[in-house]
Structures are given as C-alpha cells and as structure tokens.
C-alpha cells in the first residue's frame, strides 16, 4: 500500500530504527511498510497514525481511491 511514512519520518529526522523503536516493531517492519511490501494491520496503522498525530488516510493511500483516481 502506498504511504507517506518515509516523508513523515524524514520531516522529523528519524531513522527507520528511531521510528521502529517508537512503534515497538523491528526496523525491517518499518522498511517493509515504507516500501509498500507489507500492509500493516489496522492496530499498527492506528499506532502509526497516533504517533504522527494524523488521520490514517493522510498516511496510507486507500487502494480503492488510488484506482478510482487512475480511471
């Protein structure tokens, strides 16, 4: 799933490891989510949203909205 995680992290000057520690996951998890190789569960997506104090849809791009835009 497309997302703005890398951008949000860069704005705060956090490394992947910094973000991983804040989310209590592995650095590899952060990398997999950032690169769109892994879609986080809803609880983890909420943790991400709460950490950045943003609504989920401002971090993760809805696949259905993305495809409707393409049409």
């Amino acid at each position: 799933m497309e997302n703005r995680l890398r951008l949000l992290r860069a704005e705060r000057n956090w490394s992947q490891q910094d973000l991983a520690e804040r989310l209590e996951v592995s650095r590899q998890s952060v990398n997999a989510i950032e690169t769109g190789k892994y879609d986080p569960s809803l609880p983890l997506a909420f943790r991400v949203a709460e950490l950045f104090d943003l609504p989920i849809e401002e971090i993760f791009v809805s696949p259905s909205r993305r495809s409707s835009k393409a049409i």
């Binding site: 996951v25 592995s26 590899q28 998890s29 990398n31 997999a32 190789k37 892994y38 986080p40 983890l44």
Partner: protein, 135 residues
C-alpha cells in the same frame, strides 16, 4: 529471520529438542540393535525419537503465538506455508510414483525432512521477494 526475543526463545527450544532427539534416536537404535528393549516397551521406545520432532512443530506454533512483531510473524507464516506445500507436493508425487513401482518405497518420516527443507525454501523466497527472512 530477525532476532526478536520470541525468535531467541524459539531457537533455544529447537536446540534443546534437537539434542533430545539425538539422545533418543541413539538410545533407541542402540536398544533395538542389541535386543535390549523388552517386548512391551518396543512401541514406546520406537516412538521416542518422534516426540522431540513433534516438539519442534509445537515450538513453531508457540513462536507464532509469542512473536509480537506482525511483519516478522508473517515471514514465518510464509515459510511454514512454503514448507507444507513443498512437503505435501513431494509426498503426493512420490506416492504416485511408488504406486506404479517407478521409485523405491520411502519411510514416512522423510516427509518431515522434506518439510524442514521446505522451510529453507520459504526463507529464500522471503529473501528474494521481500528482502528479509533469509534462512
């Protein structure tokens, strides 16, 4: 695989179970070879080496329950699926070849060896498709 605390616990369990397996197997083989196993104990002694192997399956299940990192857990689930698919496919193909007398009969426990080999394949697939979870 990433070294989470659940992964470290899993590894220790596997190490102990492997040592137990070696001990049970050597004892059972020695006992049967030298006719030391009394008749009523033959079945239990023959099954002894299987128990630690079953324990490893339990350890994998416990690991999946205990692993808190959902991405790392998914890597292991993918490995287990690859292992199961590989071992069951191999058993099916071998079974039919055996039925038509095209290959020699293989002992049932070889399926377990194929399953563990499949775990390795799953690790490689994770490595090549996700870049993580190499075996």
């Amino acid at each position: 695989m990433l070294r989470t605390s659940a992964w470290i616990r899993y590894n220790w369990r596997v190490v102990w179970l492997t040592l137990l397996y070696a001990g049970f197997l050597i004892s059972a083989v020695y006992g049967f070879k030298h006719h030391l196993v009394p008749q009523p104990l033959m079945y239990p002694v023959a099954i002894l080496p299987a128990l630690p192997i079953i324990g490893i399956f339990v350890a994998i299940g416990k690991y999946l329950v205990e692993e808190e990192d959902e991405y790392v857990r998914m890597l292991m689930v993918r490995q287990v699926l690859w292992a199961s698919g590989f071992a069951l496919s191999l058993a099916t193909v071998w079974g039919f070849l055996d039925s038509f007398d095209l290959v020699g009969h293989a002992d049932g426990y070889y399926i377990v060896i194929a399953w563990f080999f499949g775990l390795g394949i799953g690790g490689l697939v994770n490595k090549f498709t996700l870049g993580d979870g190499g075996c």
